[in-house]
Amino acid sequence: MTSAPAIELKGISKAFGPVQANKDISIRVMPGTIHGIIGENGAGKSTLMSILYGFYKADKGEIFIGGKKTLIPDSQAAIAAGIGMVFQHFKLVENFTVLENIILGAEDGALLRPSLAKARQSLTDLASEYGLDVDPDAIVENLSVGHQQRVEILKALYRQADILILDEPTGVLTPTEADQLFRILNRLREEGKTIILITHKLREIMDTTDTVSVMRRGEMTATVKTSETSPAGLAELMVGRKVLLQVDKVPAKVGATVLEVENLSVIDDKGVERVKGISLDVKAGEILGIAGVAGNGQSELLEVLGGITSGTGIIRVNGQDIDLTGKFSDGRSRRARGIAHVPEDRQREGLIMDYMAWENTAFGYHHDPAYQSGILMNNAAIRADTEAKMQRFDVRPPNPKLTAKNFSGGNQQKIVLAREIERNPDLLLIGQPTRGVDIGAIEFIHKQIVALRDQGKAILLVSVELDEIFVLSDRVAVMFDGKIMGFRDPAQTDEKELGLMMAGIVEEAA
């Protein structure tokens, strides 16, 4: 051992009521390395980093920075100790310039001008030192997401951070932007900075980190050298059992066209055109995957197909027109036409979080005659149906009377999936099927989607996870800025090409 660890945590514990979020966690992060922390949602990664950044106070345990025992009661102390944090959701003032954002909270005196001048100078230095080019006078809201993230990193570096914590940094980036980010991180490492990378993506861990720690249910289950492990090994450590990362799929038996979309446009409440005249079709027995960076019109496409918002253009299901603006342009009419919809945001749309599981099983289908007895709802019948569905979809705990918010993300998603898939729809719209879902459940959900396709149903999948698009899709469409950049066969394309298309660049096939 040549030098003291940049960060050492000893026996950190933190409980929220009866929930033990962190249990006796010890970890050593050596200076000049990229250290990955991986784990499922709710494994305690964010709690641990919040303790390190002074948001929470640990119940037990000690923190050593550069070998010295350090108390971190608040984020000021964390910054003083040389820790910088890049949050998943950026904390930038959108209508300020880059420079103004950088000095925010680190102004030297009452007058801004000297601070701004100093910041401009050091920004130039930082840019040349680490390859972090950003126009200091640009207004933040006009920057791309990738550049906004750079501003966050610059903010930390301007405050003399030696240790940089990044929380799920690639969630909002295109693959190209993610590559650029990792190049910057490598550069920072070469300059001697220490980086902690929190993520749930196995590939990022494998590609960039030197060491990786795995968390499961509040405990640190392992810390290994990245070069001595494999994705499958890490997945097993995360979940606690063997996981299949790939779904076995027989070739698609494509049938008649189920969904036809022609020249569909959607204008949102603010008058912005979100979907710009797109056309596509989905056939029976195939999965059409829509790839794209979040916010390029995929959500609006799903919503208009699901009857939540209105649009202009033509949508046909099984050859018959769908009402897009009139009396029958709502979710209930869509369901009656054999369209099931697993929405992107199960907590805001797919479920009523304060409803019990059985009430949620009737959600959207509460007019079903099987759920009525006279003018009242037949609650007993709905509960029995829920119990059966929970059984088949392995929802845990299988208790129809438990409130939706008390299920884990994966089990909430299974409740939604069970409700929609078991309706035996002709067309399934499914958005971000595994967002916030643990690895064990991902496997199950993917299998259910493929099984539905094998029954000859048409499936329109929207996902920002390229891995998921590749695993599930029979055809891929890439959306950028409300338009479809093109269709590709997943077997004949790669991440690089799709990544470029997601950034709006189409290379004409040579």
Binding site: G17, G331, E349, H366, L376, N379
Partner: protein, 364 residues
């Protein structure tokens, strides 16, 4: 995992809040030099100690049941209907029209039609604010408050200029005909050999209120409409996803709410004063908010909270009558109860939740 057992949530929290309000009230009474224990005795004696007292307590409670239910139904759709007062005033107009201008052979028929008419008038008064909220986004709290003033002005105009009998001095309608007079609890209990005070105003509309409680229970928890109202109240985006029209639910929930508030007039206008007078509602529309908060928008809770507030109202009147405690102090006590049971709910709830967690840890 739920933090507390359901019984603690529904019973313990309001009881502790009530106790805190009582202690603070006692301190205030001591502060003005009166004996709080004697005051409590007087309140209980005056409101629950005789059938006369009960008659008044239940009369007030009937009013509060209607307005409490009205606020509750709107709450389930996440709307704050502060217009119960105005809707109840208009309900009075509906009752007066039915009783004055139509001949009735028997009170029961008159009651049925007066109930329908009062509900229709109350609902109509809630319609415009509901429509404005649903279509234009005008906030329902603002519009319903404004509609209270409009209702008062409208009634003022009608009573002074249109409905006042010729030669009468006060702004009120003529006495309703004999056939529309509702039986009081005295009349209803006499056949069973129970002697109930003849002077007390509690009447058959108490039964209507209890039926309304049961009906609201079934509406909210057992029908599709109630399911949609609650879903919309929890999450508008979720409702849209499920194909529930926000406009439709907003309007329907407010119509039901206004109708329930309007139905209060069968008690105070038809049952008690037997004519329509100015300010017949006496603030019951606002008490309904407290009743709904304390009753946690559940009909059973509303029923119990309405009786509690009936007790406070009647007991307070007795206190003002027999002691030097001023009438205003009664308002203070009522305000404290509202404050603790409604606004400061979490102050009691959170420590209690922690306590239960500690016990549970002890078990484990």
């Amino acid at each position: 995992m739920e933090k507390m057992p359901a019984w603690a949530d529904a019973v313990l929290v309001p009881l502790i809040s009530l106790l805190l309000a009582a202690i603070l009230s006692a301190l205030v009474i001591i502060g003005i030099g009166e004996d709080p224990i004697a005051a409590v005795k007087l309140m209980v004696q005056g409101s629950l100690g005789s059938t006369y007292g009960w008659g008044y307590t239940l009369y007030y409670a009937t009013n509060f049941m209607f307005t409490g239910l009205a606020v509750s139904v709107a709450f389930h759709a996440r709307m704050f209907n502060i217009g119960g007062e105005g809707q109840a005033m208009l309900g009075g107009l509906g009752v007066a029209i039915v009783c004055l201008y139509m001949p009735w052979p028997h009170w029961s028929l008159a009651l049925i039609f007066a109930t329908i008419s009062s509900a229709a008038f109350g609902a109509a008064w809630a319609f415009l604010p509901a429509y404005l909220q649903a279509k234009r986004g005008s906030h329902i709290v603002i519009t319903t408050i404004m509609f209270n003033f409009i209702a008062a002005a409208l009634l003022n105009y009608l009573l002074v200029n249109v409905m006042r009998p010729a030669g009468a001095m006060d702004p009120a309608t003529a006495k309703f005909p004999e056939a529309t007079h509702l039986p009081t609890l005295h009349d209803m209990l006499a056949p069973f050999g129970i002697a109930f005070s003849k002077a007390a105003p509690a009447n058959v509309s108490l039964i209507v209120a209890i039926i309304a409680c049961v009906a609201v229970y079934f509406l909210i928890w057992r029908t599709k409409l109630g399911y949609e109202i609650r879903a919309f109240g929890h999450s508008e985006s979720g409702a849209k996803y499920a194909g529930i029209s926000p406009v439709k639910i907003t309007v329907i929930a407010m119509l039901i709410s206004g109708g329930l508030a309007g139905m209060m007039a069968t008690n105070n206008v038809m049952g008690e004063s037997e004519r329509l007078i100015m300010n017949a509602t006496e603030g019951a529309g606002f008490i309904g908010i407290a009743v709904a908060l304390m009753g946690r928008s559940h009909p059973l809770g509303v029923f119990l909270a309405a009786i509690l507030f009936g007790f406070l109202y009647q007991g307070g009147a007795e206190l003002a009558l027999w002691t030097s405690i001023p009438r205003e102090l009664i308002v203070v006590i009522q305000a404290l109860v509202i404050l603790f049971t409604g606004a400061l709910d979490n102050m009691v709830r959170m420590p209690l939740e922690k306590l239960f967690l500690m016990f549970r840890k002890g078990d484990a």
